[in-house]
Amino acid sequence: MAKVIEGLYYSESHEYLKVEGNIGIIGITDYAQKALGNVVYVDMPDVDDEVEAGAEFGAVESVKAASDLNSPISGTVVEVNEALEDAPELINQDAYENWIIKVERSDPSEVENLMDAAAYEAFCEKEH
């Protein structure tokens, strides 16, 4: 069973959002990392890039294919997880610990469009 963490927000494209004040921490879920298999590359935006809710901001690549990363919220990138540049496999080890980008949120109300842990768990169940 894929791990789902209480208190995070989740998108239908399997990204999670952890809210810390006006900062949103974004990564892919455990379900997503399991479905992808070995992650071999993470394509990340640059600091100061704008991201938009629902729009692509990068990609996670397994051996076989590239999967788009979609931002759950809008805002400005304030940090990217540089550890993933040399060790993309960290995502397979712990997808929640190894976030991908931190974003300064431009619209706090956007979280209302995301799922909570219970809803996401049910969503994955259905997808499976």
Partner: protein, 363 residues
């Protein structure tokens, strides 16, 4: 997805794959195992030890009768004149315009008795093409694709596994040769760049072989690593490196196109292309960065598009981001600096040999 899977055919080993927990996916009209343990792990098993593939989706056609050899010569780019019985040839079937219908293996089973192995995704198209060009030949042409199951045993330990686990003596078989044991066809062939064998037989026999090999601990391997393995040694896949608009000469397969042969379909167009030079050429490209070039991505020179990626990976054996790409010939020289567009960014690369890992065939 479910509907798609229901339409797709199953090989005689389908239930074995499901039992082993394989990730199943449609490929070439069949629902096939993509991976069991993981692509990287299966890839390494084949490079270092031995791996087992279900390749029952491949198509088989037999050509027999008085004009069998003349017919194969007519549809096939390689030259099988005076071939000894038991020898296998790789080559293509081409359109009149030189584009590729399919790439295939021709097994010479006997005098005027040939066994053709074609790509799963092309079985219907190839079969129609073969029938269409059979007029005027005294031959018996049979599409036996559904009658044969097929496994591939690949890797440095494959000979030992074939002999000890399956009890099929095959040490005397040389690379690209075939023999029959009863109605079982065994050849020293494969699609991985390693030593290996392919076995064609009834579904019942193939299922027995599969069970014995799995029980002996041989790693089952899916189409995922079949693709990474063939890619690393620069072998083409129809649909990527060969297509209706990609001739064998563009794909760098000229050594399998015998233009000194009396005739074959596409000869004129290919001879002309050889004389004038190809407009586009298949090359290898190595990126400096870790980003992965994938099929269809644009290759650029000074910001201008010059071609497209056909297959790309971050290679498992050598840990590099590399691809094969079909680009304008003027940029195909080794060492030429090019760029590849990967999503929003462009990445610098250079043209290299399209061989990312040395083949280790047992000749």
């Amino acid at each position: 997805m479910m509907e798609q899977e229901l339409k797709d055919k199953r090989t005689c080993l389908y239930d074995k794959h499901v039992e082993l927990g394989a990730l199943m996916s449609p490929f070439g009209g069949f629902v096939m195992p993509i991976q069991y343990a993981g692509i990287a792990e299966e890839h390494k098993a084949v490079r270092e030890k031995v791996g087992l593939f279900d390749v029952s989706h491949m198509g088989e056609v037999t050509v027999r009768g008085k004009d069998a050899e003349r017919y194969v010569q007519h549809i096939f780019t390689n030259d099988i004149a005076n071939a000894p019985v038991g020898k296998i040839y790789y080559g293509m079937m081409c359109y009149e315009h030189g584009g590729t219908v399919d790439d295939l293996l021709v097994y010479k089973m006997g005098e005027n008795d040939f066994f053709l192995v074609i790509n799963a995704a092309n079985i219907d198209k190839d079969w129609a093409w073969m029938q269409q060009h059979a007029a005027g030949f005294d031959i018996d042409l049979q599409n036996c694709s559904d009658a044969y199951g097929q496994i591939a045993v690949q890797g440095p330990e494959s000979e030992q596994v074939m002999e000890t686990i399956l009890g099929i003596p095959c040490g005397e078989l040389t690379f690209y040769s075939v023999k029959t044991v009863g109605d079982v066809i065994v050849s020293r062939t494969g699609y991985t760049g390693e030593d290996g064998f392919e076995v064609y037989a009834t579904p019942e026999y193939i299922r027995q072989c599969w069970d014995k090999l799995i029980a002996a601990g041989v790693q089952p391997c899916g189409l995922g690593c079949r693709d990474t393995l063939r890619f690393e040694v620069g072998l083409p896949l129809y649909g990527d490196e060969l297509a209706e608009d990609i001739t064998p000469l563009m794909a760098g397969l000229g050594m399998f196109v015998k233009l000194d042969k009396e005739e074959f379909i596409g000869k004129e167009a290919l001879a002309k292309q050889k004389e004038e030079g190809v407009a586009k050429k298949l090359v290898g490209i190595e990126l400096a960065d870790k980003a992965i070039p994938r099929h269809g991505y644009t290759v650029l020179k000074d910001g201008q598009p010059i071609g497209e990626v056909t297959t790309g990976y971050h290679t498992i054996s050598t840990d590099k981001s590399v691809c094969m790409a079909l680009i304008e010939s003027q940029y195909a020289a080794l060492g030429t600096e090019v760029e590849i567009q990967i999503r929003k960014k462009t990445f610098a690369g250079k043209v290299v040999k399209k061989l990312f890992y040395e083949k280790r065939y047992k000749k």
